[in-house]
Symmetry: C2
Subunit: 477 residues, 2 copies
């Protein structure tokens, strides 16, 4: 069963069962964001666990605790799947991370097909979760089934709360560090996309995210701009001035010292960008803008992956509806975030932001009250691309796709990579198996039936990890 699917052209392993399973998985509305679909997330975890059990895996459902909602209500978290297949000490152990929950999706959001009915159009499989992340997990599971004799020991850690911020997962990873993760050599995450629609990629870094709230509080109640406009320090003008002090028109962050810890760009690193195939025009079309701030491929990629950025998201407590309301809001909260990069330190960033905003505010001589706080902080992640699994993945991609992968980063924050690397100290690799146009989170989420949703590349990686490891491990043990 192994040899005939070692190249994409010959992939005969693609079968009805894989498609049937994806159809079954997509049909489950396992939306983890909205509390009312929580039971469906739990049902989805059960289905995935059954699939793994049918494979002969030793499956544990690690029951996480409860989630407290904004209204104070507690609802159960779905359990986390910990599955094991094989425990031969002479073989390397690969652990796949994935999630079976999805973002909300409703037909009326603008879907052309029913989001929970897998629909094939022109070789693409449309439906919520097809690429993020049900499809990729199923591809790994089916790749494993294809081996009569597994060349590596396999583990799966599958959660159901990723789209809601992986609530409860970090705790489980910590707790399982000495058990489940103790004999793991490689952790593979297939939960992002290639940079383009044609060329596979390996991801070795992501930006972090530090989310801030800036609260300006004036009087006890909202006021009327007619009655008191002109005599009170309005919290909105203070907040607008504070937000305006953060970033200039070309995206340069104005907070003193913020760039101090950004790792210098090395010559070796610069070279990685040369071979990347990236069409600026296509990228503009994909994200729906007419212009970028920069004009070259290098500048665009560096500013997406390699340099920090600051975005202002909105204001809570002010008037936000259509129409007119001549209110002076009494308490407004600005929301902005900084995507940090190595080696920026979260607590340094937090201090720099607070000191700067407090300084800007004090110069206004406003009698309002200011409170700046970092509401969420996720570290950037960076892997060493010289680790064995990156080399193995490169070979697998070369064999199947007849080309080198793009070595990429992700401008977004994928905390799981950093958390797994930080807690387990194992080699973590992000191995995307979806193309740039897969539209994760969008109303046209899909996965390509022939480029991505196969088991060929997955089987090649598994075999390659064994071959590359064999030498290392036999000499070590």
């Amino acid at each position: 069963t192994l040899s005939f699917c070692m190249t994409l052209d010959e992939d005969m392993n693609y079968d009805c069962l894989l498609l049937q399973n994806l159809h079954k998985w997509v049909a489950v509305e396992s939306d983890s964001v909205q509390p009312q679909t929580r039971q469906e997330v739990i049902r989805m975890i059960d289905i995935a666990a059954e699939n793994l059990q049918a494979l002969g895996a030793d499956v544990t459902l690690d029951n996480a605790s409860f989630q407290q909602l904004f209204d104070g209500q507690h609802i159960p978290l779905p359990p986390v799947i910990l599955a094991k297949l094989g425990k031969d000490p002479l073989k390397p152990t690969v652990c796949f991370y994935g999630h079976v929950d999805v973002m909300p999706a409703k037909r009326e959001d603008g879907w052309k097909t029913d989001p929970y009915t897998l629909t094939e159009i022109d070789g693409n499989l449309y439906g919520r979760g097809t690429t993020d992340n049900k499809g990729p997990i199923l591809a790994w599971i089916h790749a494993v089934t294809a081996f009569k004799d597994l060349p590596v020991n396999i583990k799966f850690i599958i959660e159901g709360m990723e789209e809601a911020g992986s609530i409860g997962l970090e705790e489980i990873i910590e707790r399982e560090n000495e058990r489940f993760f103790s004999d793991v050599d490689y952790i593979v995450i297939s939960d992002n996309l290639w940079l383009t629609t044609k060329k596979p990629a390996l991801t070795y870094g992501t930006r972090g995210n530090a989310c801030f709230s800036v609260e300006v509080e004036g009087g006890e109640k909202d006021l009327h701009s007619g009655g008191v406009g002109g005599i009170v320090h309005e919290p909105m003008s203070d907040l607008i001035a504070l937000l305006d002090s953060l970033v200039n028109a070309s995206g340069h962050i104005l907070i003193p010292g913020i760039y101090d810890d950004v790792a210098p760009l090395t010559e070796e690193e610069k070279k990685l960008y040369d071979t990347i195939e990236f069409d600026l025009q296509e990228h503009k079309v994909n994200i729906g803008v007419k212009n970028f701030i920069y004009n070259t491929k290098e500048d665009i990629l560096l500013h997406t992956w390699r340099f920090p950025s600051l975005s202002i998201h909105g204001i809570e407590g002010a008037f936000y509806e259509p129409g007119i309301k001549t209110v002076i809001p009494s308490r407004v909260i600005g929301k902005f975030s900084i995507r940090q990069v190595p080696h920026m330190n979260l607590s340094t960033v937090e201090r720099q932001v607070k000191e700067y905003l407090e300084d800007v505010f004090s110069k206004r001589n406003s009698t309002n009250k200011l409170r700046v706080s970092m509401k969420m902080g996720a570290m950037p992640w960076l892997a060493n691309i010289n680790e064995p699994q990156y080399k193995a993945a490169k070979k697998a991609i070369q064999r199947v796709f007849k080309k080198d992968p793009d070595m990429i980063r992700d401008g977004s924050t994928i905390p799981i990579a950093q958390i797994l690397q930080d807690k387990t100290k194992k080699s973590v690799m992000m191995f995307p198996i979806g193309a740039a146009d897969d539209g994760e989170h969008s109303q046209k989420e899909k996965i390509s039936r022939f480029k991505s949703f196969t088991t060929c590349l997955q089987m090649n990686l598994i075999s390659q990890l064994k071959s590359d490891d064999a030498m290392g491990r036999s000499s070590q043990k």
Copy 2:
């Protein structure tokens, strides 16, 4: 029936019927803001019309047309009441304007009493509409009933859409200018409050209001701050910079030329402020702030009434909920308004704002699109306090309250005064009969049973208008 209610102490005219009627009127949820209560507004108009008919008035219900809602739906506008009592050409004709619709009110908004059940506590009558504006209208109606022989001809124009912006009213005033308004001498509006809780006031001016929207549009769709933060001109940073350019920390408007047309303060005008009783500390408590920008009574009143102010109300299209959303909104609309004063011109203000913001925006070299528009423009209003009805009102107040009224303006915009003065060219007076703590639009709206909700002051004004006019009119005719 007349003499015994000529002073407040002797007011015996206050009777069960007046209180019963207010109870009945307050019980009608004639909220004109929310479409679902429109039938109650129409029912309220019918009740008011019946009250006037019972008085012997000749009542016409002027059917306005339809209101188009945001969703495109059309719902009927309540009719406008035009009522007449007496047409003796030897008597002056006084027309009272009022409205019987109210702002929304729900018990759960924080009301201590049911907003639609008139409740007396310590001499105050609580309930939605008690002071704004059902109570004052009923006081006028009952004052009229108290005269056996009316000293003046009386007219009423009563609408049901004031809280929603008096939709359809201007059209009716224009149409009725040559008919209903042709023989009117004085127009009296009792739809605002005294400056203090103790001393009656006459209002001779209001600020205008020019409401602007500043729209900045980037790409076709909202973007993710991870994926593209750092490479696109973010509409939010542009908008924040534009809004920040409008006003400084002490409320000074930064738009060039905006103060050019502000009428100079005369010595005579300054004197009016000397006698005004106004406690800054009490005002702070009333509006719930700890500090003002200015420290003297004169500065506070001048900046509330006499100088323009600019307030930023909020942003449409950005993230406004609690929590975190790392979105780059594609299209954001800032809302701000300028309270203009005489002799600022609306179209000049509009031009100044547009030119200035376009200039600020062009300096940013942003590739986003800017659209500035004035969504609503209401003129300031200013009356001549030497007109006969102001003199008559002063005498009536002196007689009933044993003191001179505060001669005040209102920082808010009450478009009806300007519209009535502009369209009919008649003398318009704002004659508040509610105290500063009446809490119009708030969760503790009330009217004082003894200071305000009487017919004494109203009867005195009616008599005085006749006495003062008798001389003028007999010599003219």
